[in-house]
């Protein structure tokens, strides 16, 4: 089985854990407390890796699988951290028609990660996004605040090199 455990080393601090435990203590006896606890946990850590979900499970008695089921159900939760550089590829209609799907696939292949994931060195994370309003430049991707347009698959290497 391919585990969905993140390959990025977990860098949680004792302060973050103390904050999470406080949230759990406040909320754990409320009905339907899992969602708010998960939202707070994601605020604290930025994402919800197994280490964080296990803290929640151990301190609420909610089975880890149930937590994981909720986390993977809702798009608002992420199992992976954001990288130093967040790459977003627009898969909106215009960009997609202009071949952004191929660019997205090429990035996954080059980086060795899937959509929503982060490279093990913490450098790049990759997401698909919907229309960013630059259809005239389609296909478009962004790296943090930088926008790249009118791309072809061959541009991918050059863009990645800039941030290497």
């Amino acid at each position: 089985m391919n585990s969905a455990k993140s390959t990025v080393p977990f860098k949680g601090t004792p302060e973050q854990e103390a904050e999470l435990l406080k949230v759990i203590e406040e909320k754990k006896n409320d009905k339907g407390s899992l969602m708010p606890i998960l939202q707070k946990a994601q605020e604290i850590y930025g994402y919800l890796p197994i280490e964080v979900q296990a803290i929640i499970s151990d301190n609420t008695g909610i089975p880890l699988e149930k937590i994981y089921g909720v986390v993977t159900f809702y798009a608002q939760f992420s199992l992976y951290p954001k990288g130093e550089y967040t790459i977003s590829v627009c898969l909106g209609t215009a960009c997609y028609v202009k071949g952004s799907g191929d660019i997205y696939n090429k990035l996954q292949e080059k980086l060795g990660i899937g959509g929503g994931e982060c490279t093990p060195d913490g450098k790049f994370s990759l997401d698909a996004c919907r229309c960013i309003g630059a259809c005239g430049l389609a296909p478009v991707l962004t790296v943090n605040e930088d926008v790249y347009g009118r791309l072809t698959v061959d541009d991918v290497d050059k863009i990645l090199e800039k941030y290497a």
Binding site: M1, A4, Q53, L64, K66
Partner: protein, 582 residues
């Protein structure tokens, strides 16, 4: 309770308010098919195979019959053309992402989906073919496979794991078309705190979940002239095996089972009931020792390996309460490979010990540490009742025409106290029979207080001026309540019996699967337990300490219960585990 009147397919019927359409139809003699519905455990109305037309005065419409309550003067149509068409379409849609390899499927012939496809005349299962999800088979657990390519997402396994067993190591991940049943972070089941109880397999309607099958290995051992192949059968197997051959639930198959095993070629057909009696000798002795010498109380029984693993993961602080006795399966193997092997002059390395169990956790148990009294594993293969059924069928043995035969001596000799091990309360009753005799010299037999399928049974007995409080429970969600009461100090009991599966081994995860359409209306725990209590009643000896073979094994080998030798061979140790091992 207020009654209301409904009309089902033209049949008028009075039912209590709150009755579901499914229940009312059943009372009127009509079956509404179900896939996801499990009474009180999984009432989620998700699969839509139970759709039924109802008219509450505003015209007929389709509702989910399994959860929709009847209203007064409701008209119900359970098999109108519209109903049939809707169910058929649902089946076609389920089949559109189903791995339709029925020929090689372990459930072929008793698959609930296959039966429905036939009943509803699904002509072309490929009608909605399109993108299919493909999954790797999870074989990481010692006892079972999960093949999600056959899963229909009914969530019966999820419900039984979380609710009945209070564990919840499987659930639905992702959403929409990508939804699949699995464990957290896609860990294999073997990496989780799964206790191997197999209740998920017992409720799976299709071939997505199945035990790891070792029938080929066993047949190869039987064919090997170098090997002496012994078989032992757990008490509950005789109460379930008949169902594999079309017999009604609650058929006693003991004699035919023995005959079938002999015809399969086992060298000796022995009975786990023998070692159940042995367990009682050791466990009653352990209880009396702890009771009189101030040992850790309450003492908790250790026959159920699913329960043991549960305790190790979830209540490691209570491990001292567990009896150190090996389970009867392991005691049997240990005794056969030491005492019997010596007596017969056979090298234990050449003995292949096969057990037939109503249980899947037994497959995990045989691989535990500290279960090799003769330097080789006490038990080599643990097969489920279902696997034995398959072996008999494959060998072309006409089970129902077999004569009734008897177990071989001496490890086939047993008492009524042993055979009731297979039902919840049986171990407690058997232990009390012997403990009372030891303290008072009195013979007691029937102890109805600890029998039956109530979640938690409590009783107080006055034994030689001492008050002995006992608790019997089964199903691990129930066990949690009892264990929490030990933790918080409110538990008054000195002796507790816990079985992982609800109702005990008769309803074990390795027993023949009963379609949910029957299980929702028949208590299989009760029907199968009756077989064992009737056997107990019919036996000349009903107390473990009266078993002549047990007396002899102590005389010749173990000396006395709790002796050094007995500890070496018949007792074991446990390990602390965590819930979330990450």
């Amino acid at each position: 309770m207020e009654n209301i009147t409904v009309k089902i397919n033209g049949v008028e019927l009075e039912v209590p308010k709150g009755t579901t359409v499914l229940e009312a139809a059943h009372m009127a003699g009509f079956e509404i098919p179900t896939l996801c519905y499990m009474k009180e455990i999984n009432e989620i109305g998700a699969c839509r195979i139970c759709v039924t037309e109802v008219n509450e005065g505003r015209g007929f419409r389709l509702v989910a019959g399994c959860v929709y309550p009847c209203s007064d003067k409701m008209e119900i149509l359970t098999s109108s053309p519209k109903v049939i068409e809707s169910r058929k379409k649902t089946l076609e849609l389920i089949l559109s992402t189903h791995d339709r390899k029925c020929l090689s499927c372990v459930r072929s012939g008793n698959c609930e989906l296959q039966k429905l496809a036939k009943d509803y005349g699904v002509e072309d299962a490929t009608k909605y073919d399109g993108v299919k999800n493909e999954y790797e088979v999870d074989n990481s657990a010692p006892h079972m496979y999960r093949d999600n390519n056959k899963c229909i997402l009914c969530r019966r396994c999820v419900a039984v794991c979380a609710k009945t067993q209070g564990i919840g190591v499987i659930g639905a991940n992702e959403r929409g078309f990508k939804t699949y049943i699995g464990s957290a972070f896609d860990m294999g089941l073997g990496e989780t705190s799964c206790v191997s109880c197999g209740q998920c397999i017992a409720v799976c309607p299709v071939g997505a979940l199945s035990e790891k099958d070792y029938t080929k290995e066993v047949m190869a051992a039987i064919a090997d002239p170098e090997k002496t192949v012994l078989v032992q059968t757990a008490p509950a197997v005789r109460a379930g095996l008949g169902e594999c051959f079309g017999n009604p639930i609650g058929t006693n198959a003991e004699g035919k089972m023995v005959a079938a095993l002999r015809r399969l070629g086992f060298d000796k057909v022995f009975d786990t009931d023998f070692s159940a009696d042995l367990t009682i000798m050791e466990e009653a002795n352990e209880f009396l020792d702890r009771f009189t010498n101030g040992g850790t109380l309450p003492l908790i029984t250790s026959c159920s390996p699913g329960w043991i693993k549960f305790c190790e993961h979830y209540y490691p602080d209570l491990l001292d309460h567990l009896s150190s006795c090996k389970s009867p399966q392991q005691m049997f193997g240990a005794t056969a490979k030491t005492y019997w092997a010596q007596k017969m002059g056979i090298d234990p390395k050449n003995i292949v010990m096969v057990s037939i169990m109503p249980c899947t956790a037994k497959k995990f148990e045989i691989g535990r540490p500290d279960q090799s009294a003769a330097g080789v594993p006490d038990v080599d293969y643990a097969l489920t009742t279902r696997e034995l059924g398959r072996m008999i069928e494959r060998a072309g043995i006409l089970f129902n025409s077999l004569p009734e035969e008897k177990f071989d001596d001496p490890l086939g000799i047993s008492t009524g106290a042993a055979v009731i091990f297979g039902a919840t309360g049986g171990v407690m009753e058997a232990a009390l029979r012997t403990a009372v005799y030891t303290l008072t010299g009195e013979n007691v037999t029937d102890l109805p207080e600890v029998r039956g399928t109530k979640d938690i049974k409590e009783a107080t007995y006055n034994v030689a001026g001492n008050e002995v409080n006992v608790i019997v429970t089964s199903g691990l969600a129930n066990a949690r309540k009892v264990l929490d009461s030990i933790r918080d100090g409110s538990c008054k009991a000195q002796f507790i019996e816990i079985m992982a599966c609800p109702g005990g081994c008769v309803n074990g995860g390795g027993q023949p699967q009963v379609p949910m359409g029957i299980r929702n209306f028949v208590d299989i725990r009760e029907e199968r337990a009756k077989v064992l209590y009737n056997l107990d009643k019919s036996m000349p000896l009903r107390q473990s300490h009266e078993n002549p073979a047990i007396k002899k094994v102590y005389e010749e080998f173990f000396e006395k219960p709790g002796s050094h030798k007995a500890h070496e061979v018949l007792h074991t140790s446990y390990v602390k585990r965590k819930v979330n091992e990450i």
